[in-house]
């Protein structure tokens, strides 16, 4: 089956702190069709996120499909609080990159 990269379907893919102990990820679509396509593909799932980021299931704090904004959102716990010595992304804003290349199956 043909696939399209998530980066080519979504309007926004970002990560950011949600308080000092969590990082939250937003995947936002401009078109409802793309949102529905990705949502129904099941590619962006708790299991897949654990796989990508080497996480235990318990490290995912939230996973939400947010219809009003055509968005998929998930939140993970930080292993150490933001800004602790040795941490290198105090805003948590550069953790989304591995999502860009996710391959979403499309029926042609």
């Amino acid at each position: 089956m043909e696939t399209v990269k998530l980066v080519d379907l979504a309007k926004t893919i970002r990560s950011k702190n949600a308080g000092p102990d969590k990082i939250t990820f937003d995947i936002i679509f401009r078109e409802k069709e793309n949102y529905d396509l990705v949502k129904s593909s099941g590619v962006v799932s708790r299991e897949r996120i654990c796989d990508i980021y080497n996480l235990q299931a318990s490290e995912i704090a939230d996973f939400v499909e947010f219809d009003p904004a055509y968005a998929i959102k998930f939140t993970i716990y930080r292993r150490r609080p933001s800004g602790s010595p040795g941490e290198s992304d105090v805003f948590g804003c550069q953790q989304y990159a591995p999502l860009l290349d996710l391959e979403i199956p499309v029926a042609l």
């Binding site: 309007k11 926004t12 950011k16 702190n17 949600a18 308080g19 000092p20 102990d21 969590k22 939250t24 937003d26 936002i28 401009r30 990508i52 980021y53 080497n54 996480l55 704090a61 939230d62 939400v64 947010f66 009003p68 904004a69 055509y70 968005a71 959102k73 939140t75 716990y77 292993r79 150490r80 609080p81 933001s82 800004g83 602790s84 010595p85 040795g86 290198s88 992304d89 105090v90 805003f91 550069q94 953790q95 990159a97 591995p98």
Partner: protein
């Protein structure tokens, strides 16, 4: 009772980057009933709170306060600031009072009432609560506060809800400088003070607190105007090229929070599950349907606390040899070992971030096989004294140069240095409190005061 109130928010974090003036003055022309914004965030890490300093230059903060104060006094409307000076500590509130007083003198402003509240929390207060069997509950998976964690903590602020702001409005304040505050309470308080529903008031705060981050195209530090009526909230972008759309406003509900449906504040939770978003006109989005559910029982106030780990130095090294790159873990192991030989394995922290490999993401990095032809290594040493921090960072950096790899061809030095020294950095701090405390009176952590200026 008024049927409609307008709120002008010029900046999502006052002073963090200067307010853009063009859209601000367009906002002022709409004759807002309030000019208000927050000036703080826990995004900046635990350092500023721990060290009791700002994260932004005083000049930028003065610039933004001046824009707001001059126009608010000219229009005769209240100006409200929460989380003064990035952290909202007592010293930052005092600094803002000083800036406001200086600006009033500079502009020869007629007399006005300057209200303020503090939000620093005495450790003895929390200890007394714990002694009486009270629990200081951990948030986000943290355990409840222990005596040990409390003792280690250098500074704590409580995050205010609407209560101190409403109290100061009741006392007749024209300008309010708040200690650490929940962003959305800064806006909700004046709306509720004028009798608007908690449902819409808290939502108004939620949607306005980041200024133009709720608009599109993306562009920070531009003003937005919020309007509350008995039935709805409207939000309008002031920048000529920005619009508040259903997508941008709904999307903003997700920003910086774990869950887009709920916003927790001292006193309850805003539930946005049934929000309905509608394009009102070209630049304006209309929202109906938010619900605020007051907490049952005692009000819980969020606490933020920071603790100093130690003094800190930074070392920087570059690697170009492909064999060394391949064996970088071994090289770092060698350097770490040299520190351990002198100082053992505890009583300090030594961190390596390897840029070109997993410097940004660390353990979260899915790319395991690095393809970089060069690596940048940042070494951080944290120790009880500056001397020790400098030395462990120096050993940890310079020993990258001496690392012993069996088959390395370059035997005249295994790492390149921009400069052969280590650099003093700010001390290392860590967030020790992300907790909540139950209070009998929502004002007990936030003493309010009023003075006359002008």
């Amino acid at each position: 009772m008024k049927e409609e109130l307008k709120f002008l928010c010029p900046n999502g974090h006052l002073g963090f980057a200067p307010t853009k003036e063009g859209s601000y003055y367009l906002g002022v022309r709409e004759k807002p009933d309030f000019i208000l914004c927050d000036s703080g965030s826990d995004d900046i890490g635990p350092g500023p709170l721990g060290a009791d300093v700002c994260a932004s230059p005083r000049e930028w903060q003065t610039h933004d306060l001046e824009l707001m104060l001059v126009e608010a006094r000219r229009l005769g409307v209240p100006m409200i600031i929460g989380s003064a000076g990035d952290t909202g500590t007592n010293s930052r509130v005092d600094m803002y009072l000083e800036i406001i007083t200086e600006l009033a003198r500079k502009h020869n402003l007629p007399k006005f009432k300057l209200g303020y509240f503090y939000s620093e929390v005495d450790k003895a207060y929390l200890k007394a609560k714990m002694d009486q069997g009270g629990m200081i509950e951990g948030l986000d998976g943290r355990p409840n506060l222990t005596y040990e964690q409390l003792a280690k903590t250098d500074r704590i602020v409580a995050v205010a809800g609407v209560h101190p702001f409403m109290k100061l409005l009741e006392m007749g304040a024209d300008v309010i400088i708040g200690g650490r505050s929940s962003d959305c309470a800064i806006f909700a308080a004046p709306a509720m003070f004028h009798g608007f529903s908690a449902d819409l008031s808290y939502y108004l705060g939620k949607v306005l607190e980041c200024a133009s981050f709720n608009a599109e195209p993306y562009g920070g530090k531009e003003s937005v105007l919020g309007t509350i009526t008995r039935e709805e909230v409207k939000v309008k972008a002031m920048h000529p090229q920005q619009r508040c759309t259903v997508a941008s406003v709904a999307g903003h509900a997700m920003y910086e929070r774990s869950n887009p449906f709920f916003e927790y504040v001292a006193g309850g939770v805003l539930d946005m599950t049934h929000c309905h978003y509608e394009q009102y006109d070209e630049k304006t989005c209309k929202i109906t349907g938010p619900q605020f559910r007051p907490i049952e029982g005692k009000i819980k106030v969020k606490l933020e606390g920071s603790s100093k780990i130690g003094e800190r130095y930074i070392g920087i090294a570059g690697i170009r040899d492909p064999y060394t790159i391949k064996n970088i873990d071994q090289v770092i192991g060698w350097a770490r070992n040299q520190v351990e030989e002198k100082y053992g394995t505890s009583g300090y922290e030594l961190h390596y971030r390897v840029f070109g490999k997993n410097g940004v993401m660390g353990d979260l990095e899915p790319v395991k096989e690095s393809k970089s032809h060069e690596l940048g290594i940042v070494v951080q040493g944290v120790a009880p004294t500056k001397e020790m921090a400098e030395e462990i960072t120096m050993i940890g950096t310079r020993q990258l140069f001496y690392a012993r790899l069996p088959e390395v061809k370059g035997t005249a030095g295994g790492a390149a240095f921009m400069l052969d020294e280590v650099l003093p950095a700010s001390p290392g701090y860590v967030w020790t409190l992300n907790h909540v405390v139950s209070v009998d009176d929502p004002l007990e952590l936030f003493p309010v005061r009023l003075m006359e200026v002008g």
